[in-house]
């Protein structure tokens, strides 16, 4: 029994840890999509955040500086996507695809340029046990963003941008500016998620570290019906399956781990197909204004 309890405890803590980066990125996705911008670039923003965090930690010797750099790098890429999607009226999907190419290439290129070693960075100062603060903070962020979106005038305006930017314009506000701010915040959150991966869970950056988590976050947004708590719940659900893979490694033969890996994406597909409740995206999500 004791062994079972220990296993359960491992599963719960591991679930929270595995879910955290996805929660941050998914919250970013919720913000940006509620404002009407589909952020396909979450994956790239996570990667660049993870990479920048390691570089800054290496230079400064401080994991906190690394964390801030990760957030800043994500925000910068969010700004690029936001600018493309608002001022330049670039199709959001195309721009997001470009962002992903640039970010993953830049991180890989940076490894060679800065550390002179391809594939992975040397070890840097990481957050150590301090990363639990970030796990808790992810839930605090959910609460905060939920409050922002539903309880403040700014949140109402952002949501209005996602539903009907024309109405926002008529009210004398600038929907493009609101969208831009939302996408920058989205990038910052994704960067934070990336930094959690590189200097929270471990202490280095390696190529392919994000491993599709940005896209899983996108799935969590849909699965969670574009609400902060929904997305966080979905991210925890996906984190649970990731943790389960670790715990069950080699114990359950009939359930291949590849099936588990496909699960978040299948769940998103079913959610999209309306098989899990009715899903409705913001009316102007993905439509340039």
């Amino acid at each position: 029994m004791n062994g079972g309890f220990a296993l359960l405890l491992t599963l719960v803590t591991l679930t929270l840890v595995k879910a955290t980066p996805i929660v941050y990125a998914a919250l970013g996705g919720v913000l940006s999509e509620r404002a009407g911008v589909i952020n396909i670039g979450l994956e790239g923003m996570m990667a660049i955040g993870a990479f920048a965090a390691v570089v800054a930690s290496n230079v400064s010797g401080s994991a906190i500086v690394g964390l801030l750099a990760g957030i800043a790098a994500g925000a910068l890429f969010g700004f690029i996507l936001g600018l493309a999607a608002t001022k330049f009226k670039v199709d959001q999907i195309v721009a997001g695809t470009g962002i992903n190419l640039i970010a993953s290439g830049a991180a890989a290129y940076g490894l060679v340029l800065i550390f002179n070693q391809p594939g992975a960075s040397p070890q840097v100062n990481a957050l150590g046990n301090g990363y639990w603060v970030l796990v808790v903070f992810a839930l605090v962020c959910t609460l905060g963003i939920s409050w922002l979106l539903y309880r403040t005038p700014w949140g109402l305006r952002v949501r209005a941008c996602g539903e009907n930017p024309g109405a926002v314009k008529s009210a004398g506000l600038d929907p493009l500016r609101l969208r831009l701010i939302a996408v920058v915040c989205s990038g910052a959150l994704a960067g934070l998620g990336g930094a959690f991966l590189s200097i929270g869970e471990v202490n280095l950056y390696s190529d392919g570290m994000t491993a599709g988590r940005g896209f899983i976050a996108l799935a969590a947004v849909i699965f969670g019906r574009w609400t902060p708590w929904g997305a966080t719940g979905a991210a925890i659900f996906f984190g649970f399956f990731e943790a389960l893979q670790f715990v069950l490694q080699g114990r359950v033969a009939w359930l291949p781990s590849d099936a588990m890996q496909a699960l978040p994406y299948l769940a998103a597909l079913f959610a999209l197909g309306g098989l899990i409740g009715k899903v409705r995206a913001p009316a102007s999500d993905g439509v340039p204004y």
Binding site: I38, G98, I102, A106, L218, L266
Partner: protein
């Protein structure tokens, strides 16, 4: 979805800017751009073998790019070419390990299976859009990952080759190999097949009712609906064809380059192909040119990495920048609100 303007205003300008950016990347890495470009173009075009290898890369990019162009023309964002390519390759590889009919027939069957596999993968997203109005952007993207998991599962289990060391299927039997064009290289008739498909697509786009309907549902969905075009059928058909062409791409890699299916078969051809399709202005013939340009980048990038110490990944940054620059120069019509996610 896209307004066509003078080609030179878009792609040529973007390519010029991209070349300047590559030069900057070289300078940053402490390499003289002259040496860097010499390595890049020397590696890609310096001699018959280098050119053949560049054309191999060209083919692997061209097929998914053509598929993507077909979908984009219909206003459908297929960003699932990577998964469609993988499933196409998987079908060809699984069958190729056992199929031993006369050579031309075997090759034809394997490529057809690639088309079917990729087509099914595209059709799933098309059906979801037609039936539930589910965004094809998200569904094609998610299906990429499902395809990767499926491939990983199959090659590590049911389809695993007893002889292979890694995650791959048993080799394709020699009768299923694509005939080689240039001896001693990996260049096969796949490049001719891809170019033929490009010309066929051009004919479809410009000379057939189906091509017109594709453009109609993309550019004026409401008008198309009122004109009596069956939107649902067109939607899933367009995505099925789009995925099918990408699937043929996967099949040509299996039957022409690797001679077996391997989960590492694509270093992201399906995503780079989006850039190729855009640079080619969604026009099949220009896409051939664009694919060759990107083929130079892909194969020259390896040479550049080896001889000039500029990491290959710099190329991806450039590709991404080209996509952003090009897309920013375009006037993109807003899609109908009903097409929102």
């Amino acid at each position: 979805m896209m307004r066509y303007r003078g080609l030179l205003a878009g792609p040529a300008g973007a390519v010029a800017i991209a070349l300047v950016l590559i030069a900057v990347a070289m300078l940053v890495a402490g390499v003289s751009p002259l040496d860097g470009f010499a390595a890049l173009f020397g590696g890609a075009l310096g001699g018959p073998r280098a050119i053949a290898e560049t054309l191999v890369q060209t083919t692997s990019l061209l097929l998914p790019a053509l598929g993507i162009a077909l979908a984009f023309r219909a206003g459908l964002f297929n960003i699932g070419a990577e998964g469609q390519l993988l499933v196409g390759g998987l079908c060809a590889g699984a069958a190729g390990a056992h199929l031993n009919l006369p050579a031309p027939l075997t090759v034809a069957i394997l490529l057809a299976l690639g088309f079917v596999g990729g087509g099914i993968w595209g059709a799933i997203a098309g059906w979801m859009k037609a039936r539930f109005n589910a965004s094809e952007i998200i569904s094609t993207l998610m299906l990429n990952f499902v395809a990767a998991s499926l491939a990983n599962y199959l090659v590590s289990g049911p389809l695993r080759s007893s002889l292979a060391s890694g995650a791959e299927t048993a080799p394709v039997l020699p009768n299923g190999w694509l005939p080689v064009l240039v001896p001693e290289t990996r260049l096969t008739i796949a490049i001719l097949i891809a170019i033929a498909i490009a010309f066929a697509l051009r004919f479809v786009f410009t000379r057939t009712v189906f091509g017109f309907e594709l453009r109609a549902i993309g550019e004026a969905p409401e008008a198309a609906r009122r004109a009596g075009i069956d939107m649902r059928a067109m939607t899933w058909l367009a995505l099925a064809l789009s995925g099918g062409i990408a699937g043929v791409g996967g099949a040509t890699i299996v039957t022409g380059v690797l001679h077996r299916f391997n989960t590492q078969l694509s270093p992201g051809y399906g995503f780079t192909a989006i850039a190729v399709a855009l640079v080619g202005d969604l026009n099949p013939l220009w896409i051939c040119v664009a694919a060759f340009g990107f083929g130079i980048l892909e194969s020259g990038g390896l040479a550049m990495q080896a001889s000039a110490q500029v990491p290959k990944d710099a190329i991806h940054v450039i590709e991404g920048l080209i996509v952003l620059l090009l897309a920013a120069r375009r006037y993109v019509a807003t899609r109908a609100p009903s097409a929102a996610v």
